[in-house]
């Protein structure tokens, strides 16, 4: 997804900043270069392998006890624990 397409999303929320109880739908995966140890392409593949794909419903069901990090995300029939900095790559609406 191109960066300029982001304008077309109404109220985009990055999963990385969503609070417990947030429910949304994945709009796009946008790992940015330099924000993680993995290259964006690889990060994107890992997110897809965990079940994150455009159009899937997600909800934040738990927050870690220290600093509300990591978060547990319900995606489809799975629950995935991830750090907020990694979840920043998932844009939802």
């Amino acid at each position: 997804m191109e960066l300029r397409q982001l304008d077309s999303i109404d109220h985009p929320v990055s999963l990385g900043e969503a609070r417990k109880g947030y429910c949304g739908r994945v709009r796009c995966l946008l790992p940015l270069p330099g924000t993680g140890r993995l290259a964006p392409e690889e990060m994107e593949r890992r997110l897809i392998e965990m079940g994150f794909i455009e159009g899937v419903d997600v909800s934040v069901i738990h927050e870690g006890p220290f600093g509300r990090d990591p978060i547990a995300v319900r995606v489809g029939t799975a629950t995935v624990a991830m750090r907020r900095r990694d979840a920043m790559a998932i844009l939802t609406e």
């Binding site: 330099g34 924000t35 993680g36 140890r37 993995l38 392409e41 990060m43 994107e44 593949r45 890992r46 997110l47 897809i48 392998e49 965990m50 079940g51 794909i53 455009e54 899937v56 069901i61 738990h62 927050e63 870690g64 006890p65 220290f66 600093g67 509300r68 990090d69 990591p70 547990a72 489809g76 029939t77 799975a78 629950t79 995935v80 624990a81 991830m82 750090r83 900095r85 990694d86």
Partner: protein
């Protein structure tokens, strides 16, 4: 002459199990093969290899391989490289596969179906097993197996690995497939999937699920209700602490009677053998060398088994992933992954399985850090040394209701291990990985499941076997070497001191003593440390030999308290927190990191820490007392 069949026995059909983590693959493997399995390693890599034999009702022989769990064939970790190479048939030390069995969790079909779509290109005959079908039915999930089979173009069977009769349909399918003749594998046109390929496969999986699966309206599952408590920001960490506390209570208090029984057995064995054998060198070798040496280690088997029973049960329950979730932030400060919690917890029993379980960490550098700090966790081999020294130097006073000073010191020593491990990780991150971005954490939190007695028992047996084999080889050899060093040469005629004072061990001890004198060690300690290099707990036996004390630990404690200053005792205790005195651990570090370099780094930093800390402890205690 017996009738010799001219027919060569049919080659077993080779089946490999593949599936995403937590899909119930291993319990299915256990259900299919029973205890009839071998656990080993693939050559050249540290990936566990599990192969089992089984016979179908139609008398076909199967050879079943349990492949490491994987989300795709993309091979991101050593485990996944092995999986990929076996599936593609490019691994030299593994037999080619005849049938690839994809295991999918019936309550969570997405990853399994996506994997099935990807594996369609690998050229092997495929079979999809929808496992844990009973749980899915219980939740009202209906799965149209025929539709799945039609959509995927491969046979599909449902199974329940953990119920009697739950694999009947699978056994029949094996017979049907084998009798129909499995097609030869065709050339693979699998290529590493791009994000677009993965996306397409996942969409396809979602489409199939939409057609073949009906799920009742979502209601809070049991797992979600349990998680509301166990992952609660306040209650969660407290429960984790309580579980760990219960675990250590069980390890130390629960194991004591069994350990006493084992000690008594070993003593009885030694007494019987020394009666049977004529007095002399052979008796000494068998009783003082082999039985005493190996016995001092075998005594720890109950503790190790209790700890592993806890770990295996918590793992099977699905709690370990939650523990990793709760601990991630704290571990993250030290530059570690939440996943590093499991290897570090295992290291409380023994660093060797701890280091081996670091394989679950997919980031290479995080894994290395975890491996290097795992030996600092207080393993059970330190306990006899701590118990001896605390008994000798710490007064048995109560400093509060139910809180003994000795127990408190023991607790402090455990805490010192954990804190120093995290500090070392933190400092190494500050020194070498300062500007590094942490590797991503993406951890599946599986639904809670009741642990299967059979799987836990099998896991315990495999660990007990590995431990006893180690006791029978490395520790046996070390015990013999120590015995030789401390027996020869014989004391001259008319010698007045204990015989060991004239031996090679004494010479080595005197040689080392100038080096260790600044931290308050006597030459006798140096002598005991030499066998203690093989395994920490052997030092206790070493000390009792050097001081020629018989009559068990209490007597030895009295002797030590009489001969050493308090500062020396404290210094030795502190030494044991850090010193890398375990040849097997070092060998495992070498094997798991694939290079001697990391082993020497571990040796170097741990000895340096031990020396500095003991030096400080010795001089501070001496100044205070």
């Amino acid at each position: 002459m017996p009738d010799v069949s001219t027919e060569t026995p049919a080659r077993p059909t080779r089946i490999a199990l593949i599936g995403a983590p937590n899909c119930g693959k291993t319990s299915l493997f256990n259900a299919l093969t029973g205890a009839n399995q071998r656990v080993g390693n693939y050559s050249g890599v540290t990936v566990t290899r599990k192969i089992g034999q089984a016979q179908t009702p139609g008398m076909n022989t199967l050879q079943i391989t349990d492949l490491p769990g994987t989300y795709s064939l993309r091979a991101r970790s050593p485990d996944e490289v092995v999986t990929r190479d076996i599936v593609l048939g490019t691994r030299q030390d593994a037999d080619p596969i005849d049938l690839l069995m994809i295991v999918a969790d019936a309550t969570h079909l997405r990853p399994g179906l996506r994997l099935a779509k990807e594996l369609g290109a690998c050229g092997l005959p495929l079979l999809l097993v929808v496992n844990m079908i009973d749980i899915a039915r219980h939740r009202g999930i209906e799965i149209d197996l025929d539709r799945l089979s039609e959509e995927l173009g491969i046979p599909v069977v449902a199974s329940t690995a953990v119920r009697r009769g739950g694999t009947d349909a699978l056994w029949q399918e094996f017979d049907r497939l084998i009798e129909a003749g499995l097609p030869e594998r065709s050339a693979s046109d699998w290529t590493s999937p791009s994000a677009a390929d993965l996306r397409r496969n996942l969409r396809e999986a979602d489409r199939i699920i939409a057609h073949a699966v009906t799920t009742p309206a979502h209601h809070r599952s049991l797992s979600e209700r349990v998680d509301a408590l166990l992952l609660n920001p306040v209650a969660g960490p407290i429960i984790l602490l309580l579980i760990m506390f219960a675990m250590f209570q069980a390890v130390f208090a629960g194991a004591a009677p069994v350990m006493d029984a084992i000690s008594a057995l070993i003593e009885a064995l030694a007494a019987t053998v020394s009666q049977l054998l004529p007095d002399g060198i052979l008796e000494s070798l068998v009783v003082d060398g082999a039985i005493a040496g190996v016995g001092s280690v075998v005594v720890f088997l109950p503790q190790i088994l209790i700890l592993f029973a806890f770990i295996l049960i918590l793992e099977d329950l699905g709690y370990m992933a939650r523990a990793a979730f709760l601990m991630d932030r704290i571990m993250g400060h030290a530059g570690l992954h939440g996943r590093a919690f499991i290897p570090l917890l295992s290291s409380f029993a023994c660093a060797i399985p701890g280091i081996m379980s670091a394989r679950v960490i997919d980031d290479e550098r995080d894994r290395l850090t975890t491996i290097l700090i795992a030996p600092l966790m207080t393993c059970s081999a330190r306990i006899p040394v701590y118990t001896l020294l605390i008994g000798a130097f710490v007064p048995a006073r109560h400093i509060g209701p139910g809180i003994g000073l000795q127990g408190l010191v023991m607790f402090a020593l455990f805490a010192a291990g954990v804190i120093s491990a995290l500090l070392v990780a933190f400092i190494s991150r500050m020194l070498f990985r300062r500007n590094e971005i942490p590797a991503p954490l993406m951890l599946d939190l599986p639904d809670y499941k009741l642990p299967q007695l059979r799987g836990v028992a099998l896991g315990l047996w495999q660990r007990a076997y590995a431990f006893l084999r180690r006791a029978g080889t490395i520790i046996f050899t070390a015990s013999i070497v120590v015995w030789v060093l401390s027996t020869f040469p014989y004391p001259p005629a008319g010698a007045t001191e204990p015989a060991i004072n004239y031996s090679f061990a004494a010479m080595l001890g005197h040689l080392l003593q100038p080096l260790l004198a600044p931290i308050g060690f006597t030459w006798e300690i140096c002598v005991a440390l030499i066998p203690g290099m093989a395994a920490r707990e052997v030092a206790v036996a070493g000390l009792s030999t050097v001081y020629a004390v018989s009559g068990g630990e209490a007597a030895l404690g009295h002797a030590l308290a009489a001969q050493w200053s308090l500062a020396t005792g404290v210094s030795l205790i502190v030494w044991y927190i850090f010193a890398p005195q375990c040849l097997s651990t070092l060998a495992v570090i070498r094997r798991e990191t694939g290079s001697a370099r990391w082993m020497w780094i571990a040796v170097g930093y741990m000895f340096a820490l031990a020396y500095v800390a003991s030096f400080a402890a010795y001089h501070i205690t001496a100044a205070l007392s």
